[in-house]
Symmetry: C3
Subunit: 177 residues, 3 copies
């Protein structure tokens, strides 16, 4: 049974910088669970640079992954995953960026996401960029994004069983085992 | 007696990114000591964005806090705190920014601050933004600020009993317990 | 004999932010080995700010250091160090920046560097800036640099015996002892 074979915690938050290896690390966590695995992709290929990144990430993933696109309706996609199936969301940063640009009620959206992660049976691994360790950006939108990302990470870290900061491909455990 | 109930170290440096939860974490450290507590605020409400941040921080603090403003004379304010009274400075980043913009002798000012923290009886908790983990800023003033902040953090970390990096609201202990 | 006195690991990667104290920390690792030590400098003094930084770093180093300049031919300089002699490379960031600006085959250059570090007898300590924890830069070249730095750090961390993130002058061990 899937339940017996499950070894990891219910909810893991994987933070990391740009090109820190956080996606590969998060994939390895999910792949330690029994296949099939669900890859929830928040990226949209709206320019060549982004399309190249998506293709690069996709090429790295072995068979056993089902991909679901959720650039906006992440709550709906998470609610529709079969119970017990390991799920990877890569990444919250792009979802949050889309939510911010849509100018909808961001507090409602992030609240709904936190609630969806709280009630998801897991194993659920969330990947997000840590973006707050630089100089204050000149740009007001970048400042707002940085604030919202920080707030969302705090809320998710509070309900996560495990929080990891990835540095140069290596995990620095901040919470849990 | 306040001295007997004091559990924390004399000097703690709390570093963290933007919206990392470093202020709330630092407040929890101080609030673990017996009240009343002294909140040394370095922020100045010179625009709406900053005034909103100040109000947000102030609203979170429970009764038991006395606030003292020290956008510039942090050394004087620290010297005037009653011995044994727990003190939180939030944050060094804004004080350093003011000191840099004043174009006064920055080396003398930071040296005086390090000396004041060295002789303060504590418990003293200092909050500051870690700003050095991004790309080199285009702006020369931002580069200088980043250098000065890094230097100040190194000097304070060397004399601190405990240094913590806050990530998503969670403490990563760099020095001490 | 030098071999007997050697205590540190063969390959150490020291990451840190701007003015984090990573160079001083890395120097202390090398100086724990028997002198003489080789300092491989990748900086070039092409403007006053950079010349001041180079002079500042050089003034901190005691006697016992031999300096070799390697703004571009880092692979050649590493290959020519006498076996058993402790070597510090400070820093990979500037070497990578030069390699990127030269518009040569970057994948070949970074691959050759990883190979040179793999076969170097050590003790070898590599210093590099962690630059990926901020907001996405506006500038395409900065984005590319950030990506390449992240990829290089992952590859070197994978072959290193010890990886350390320096925060406020203090080591946070990510891999090894």
């Amino acid at each position: 049974m899937a339940g017996e074979a499950t070894r990891g915690p219910r909810l893991t938050l994987v933070l990391g910088g740009a090109r820190s290896g956080k996606s590969a690390y998060a994939e390895s966590l999910v792949q330690a669970e029994p296949a099939p695995w669900i890859y929830v992709a928040t990226a949209q290929g709206y320019d060549d640079e982004m399309r190249a990144r998506i293709a690069d990430h996709r090429a790295r993933r072995p068979a056993g992954w089902e991909t679901r696109d959720a650039p906006r309706d992440l709550v709906g996609v998470l609610g529709a995953t079969p119970p017990g199936r390991p799920v990877l969301v890569d990444c919250l940063t792009l979802w949050l960026s889309n939510a911010l640009l849509d100018e909808a009620d961001l507090a409602a959206k992030t609240g709904a996401l936190v609630a969806a992660c709280t009630r998801h049976p897991g194993p659920l691994v969330l990947v997000s960029n840590e973006v707050g360790f630089g100089i204050v950006p000149d740009n007001a939108l970048a400042r707002r994004f940085r604030d919202e990302a920080g707030r969302l990470h705090q809320r998710l870290a509070a309900i996560a069983d495990r929080v990891v900061l990835v540095v140069a491909g290596l995990p620095l455990v901040v919470k849990g085992e």
